[in-house]
Symmetry: none
Subunit: 530 residues, 2 copies
């Protein structure tokens, strides 16, 4: 058996300190579920003591069954001069009702004296008391030693003493934090080694990226003997972000051969990173290691030739290992096998040689080039396949729609109205609807018109609507990608539309979502009757 | 004197291999001039043997006087089986007429045999002959040892032999390349140390970022004894990019105290990175170490308090050292002190007790509750303060606007049109414009109308447009937050609007962005005249 490295993902806690990050409860649940699937050991999901929204989440998450991950609440040691049982934030931590908690305490003498403004001794008591209190309540405790590396450089003896006290009080993991993110890899190695030799196993590391070294420093930690790494999945976090787990996990597995996450799930690493980026509404960098869309993209002709001869010419691992794809930027040639797999999900008899497979591949590639993204938009992908392979006939014909936005409108405020005219089986239907915004108005008007012909659409409702501005530098005339998630109460599906115009992009996704439902219903009937 | 580390910037050569990068001749000249000002030692500006555009550049650049940097041309060793003097690409290299050239050759036995498809011995001759040939023509030669680290791990003796041969032939610097970007920091350290001990000084390092460690690996190289680092200024390059010099340079200077670039110019590091990003048309990540706009941004209330007490609480260096700025993000978690600070930037005489401070705080909190987010939207925050404190009078009165979206329109496709009617100083102006989407149309129409009264708005353009759907579960009638970033060529500012209607949210942010500019202009005039 290879040595196990435990992963703690703090996307929902430290990650939420990042610029522009604000998770809804639903976002948080979605992220928990996908980290659980990958086999991340601990999900640090919030700070119930500092934030009422986080407390609400901990109540909600108790109803969710996770297979692999433990939800962990985060808090701090008690305040100076009071008893642990009187500390409000420790009480809040207990109310989160997680089996395991992380608490942070200070290890840098300078910070204790000048920020906490207390004595070095009282700080040791704060650490010890808080951990004993939590242990007494039956919790398992991880101790985050804030500013550990800076503290060690300032007063080695005291910094190590804070850890020793935490260990004696019952902390099961001692996590060395490079809180300011400025420590260099060789310093990390020698300091961590010293701690590991002094205090034994179950040391963790928590790095920030202020000098661009959070990933390398975490790996140096492992070289020095740590078996617990904290970070955020796509590296989001305050200032320059936290250690990026989507880089660290494959490095541990494929380069150092550690036991990390669930081995069979690592081929979904790219999808996971893209999904979390989508939910966080933080674009994933094209050049993100392992999971970025350019991570295995080759441009130079010479490089392309060499990679075709021997893939390790310009690839440090094989892209399939992390579920990514090789791309040749000059002549796109990859992906057919992957698309075939998708097609066979719906039409199992299709083979690689089928003409339809070629047509679908080319069509999807063209759409991707235009800004479509099919990860998570399985509704649209299936519809495209069905349209090309099946005998598809449109369910309605759009004759015309018109959207009017007016400020001030007759009621004095801004209002949006949509008019729509469609034909089904030779019968024409015209409707109008007002809505909160042009897309909502259009959605309402379209449904009103279609309900006449397809009463089963009454059960369909939109559950999510996301807008992503592509190439945002060209400002208000940038391309827009709209993702719409719908449900009929039985199934959920997602459709995507891209256009320079947000209304048109939304229209494409809206129509797609309705057609998907209607096609699915026919398929179900066919299955029932024959 | 501290030890000198030489910097070679390859933005124009290896950087141009990055996804989406394409430099014009003018772009290249601009980048050379700003790297020269900073004191970068070598600018690797192109591959004249592989690219006629690059050759053109080398002719042009001879007319430009650089103070600190040397322009360097890049090429490869001669092909197998021919004489160096007959090699076309070496001839092209000479035609670039630079004093110094970089040539790369292979150091990985496997690559020599399976990609070059020649013998190990002939490869040594190719390296030796090419360098001797170039030296004979009076050039100084830097030797880039491609795949050095992978080569060393595969066949240590041969890899080192390629370097020895290059040194004997007269190469002045031997550069160890981690071409595939997959080597780990501890491997880099031990291998580079070995080479340095075996071959002496003037060793360089060239790292790629495929495992997210290019910066750390370059620094490990320095720890092992190298005195020459290659990278690209903002990290652009093939796949996951090259070692990021805007991170490496301040690390060498401020953490390791090396002599690097021109010390007095390091406070323009942030401006340089942003300028190169602008010229390359590659957005600089907000969280880029040292130079990103969030690199010194603090969000958590506790962190803000601590940084105010002691700045090194959450800052590894002082932002002024690299010409960046500290920012406190106004958010749910920030308090009154923070808002007071923002107010005092504009109205220094305001105190905590002022009635206006209370009103502003309450107003901002109310807006935040409604879904506004002020992180990064300093434009809107300043405007709100000015409106509440100053004697604000609106610059125009909106009488009416109307937006029409139609499918199909007269041209058969979807089209968006905006009509607008405004009054300024009793004069009414009505305009109309078509656009890519309703917001773009509205933006155009509003500017057309206002240009008549405020010609200074001609210089203002939108540079970024972001849409975030809030509480997205309520789907198409969810709230929408729009962020708009504008510039007048001198300054950049961001404004925010929130509404259930994307058009209204965009309208709010648009009007804000224009009012901000007009108020700023008045303020500048006031400053000039009194």
């Amino acid at each position: 058996m290879n040595k196990k490295i435990y992963i703690l993902d703090s996307t929902l806690r430290d990650g939420s300190q990042g610029y522009g990050i604000s998770f809804s409860l639903e976002d948080k649940i979605k992220i928990c579920c996908c980290l659980d699937k990958l086999g991340v050991d601990y999900i640090e999901a919030g700070n119930p003591g500092s934030n009422p929204k986080d407390m609400e989440f901990f109540k909600l998450v108790k109803g969710i069954e996770l297979k692999n991950s433990q939800i962990v609440a985060f808090g701090s040691t008690r305040r100076a001069g009071i008893k642990a049982e009187d500390d409000k934030s420790l009480k809040n931590l207990l109310e989160a009702e997680t089996k395991m908690v992380v608490i942070f305490g200070k290890s840098w003498d300078f910070q204790v004296m000048h920020v906490l403004k207390t004595t070095l001794e009282e700080n040791l008591n704060m650490i010890s008391d808080s951990i004993r209190f939590l242990k007494g309540k039956g919790k398992e405790v991880i101790f985050d030693s804030e500013h550990f590396y800076d503290g060690y450089k300032s007063n080695k003896q005291y910094a190590v003493e804070t850890l020793r006290v935490a260990k004696e009080a019952g902390a099961s993991v001692l996590v060395l934090c490079d809180t300011n993110g400025g420590t260099l890899p060789n310093e990390i190695l020698s300091i961590t080694k010293d701690v590991h030799e002094t205090l034994g196993d179950n040391i963790g590391i928590h790095c920030h990226n202020d000098a661009g070294m959070a990933v390398a420093n975490s790996i140096q930690g492992v070289v020095a003997g740590v078996n617990h790494i904290q970070g955020t999945f796509i590296g989001i976090g305050e200032r320059c972000g936290n250690a990026n787990l989507s880089t660290i996990i494959p490095t541990l597995k494929f380069k150092l051969n550690y036991d990390v996450c669930i081995e069979e799930e690592l081929s979904s690493l790219t999808t996971t990173a893209r999904y979390i980026s989508e939910v966080s509404n933080i674009p994933l960098n094209d050049d993100a290691p392992y999971v970025g869309s350019s991570a295995f993209a080759h441009k130079g002709g010479m490089h392309i030739n060499a990679v075709e001869k021997v893939s390790n010419s310009y690839e440090h691992i094989s892209p399939e290992q992390v579920g990514n794809k090789r791309r040749f930027l000059v002549s796109e040639v990859s992906g057919k096998t992957m698309i075939l797999k998708e097609i066979q999900k719906v039409f199992p008899s299709m083979s690689k040689e089928s003409e339809e497979v070629k047509i679908i591949t080319e069509h999807l590639k063209k759409l991707e080039y235009e800004g479509y993204q099919f990860e998570g938009a399985e509704g649209t992908v299936e519809l495209i396949m069905r349209k090309i392979i099946g005998k598809y006939e449109p369910f309605f014909k759009l004759n015309h729609f018109k959207i009017i936005g007016e400020q001030p409108s007759s009621n004095g405020n801004f209002s949006s109205t949509a008019l729509i005219n469609i034909t089904v089986d030779g019968k024409t239907e015209m409707t109008a609807a007002e809505g909160d915004g042009p897309v909502n108005a259009l959605d309402k008007a379209l449904r009103k018109a279609l309900d006449v012909f397809y009463p089963q659409l009454k059960n369909v409702r939109l559950v999510d609507y996301k807008v992503r501005v592509l190439d945002s530098e060209s400002a208000t005339n940038a391309k827009v990608r709209v993702l719409i998630e719908s449900t009929d109460g039985i199934e959920k599906w997602t459709n995507v539309g891209v256009s320079r115009d947000i209304i048109e992009a939304s229209w494409i996704a809206l129509v797609d979502s309705i057609e998907y439902k209607l096609i699915k219903d026919i398929q179900r009937k066919v299955k029932t009757y024959f």
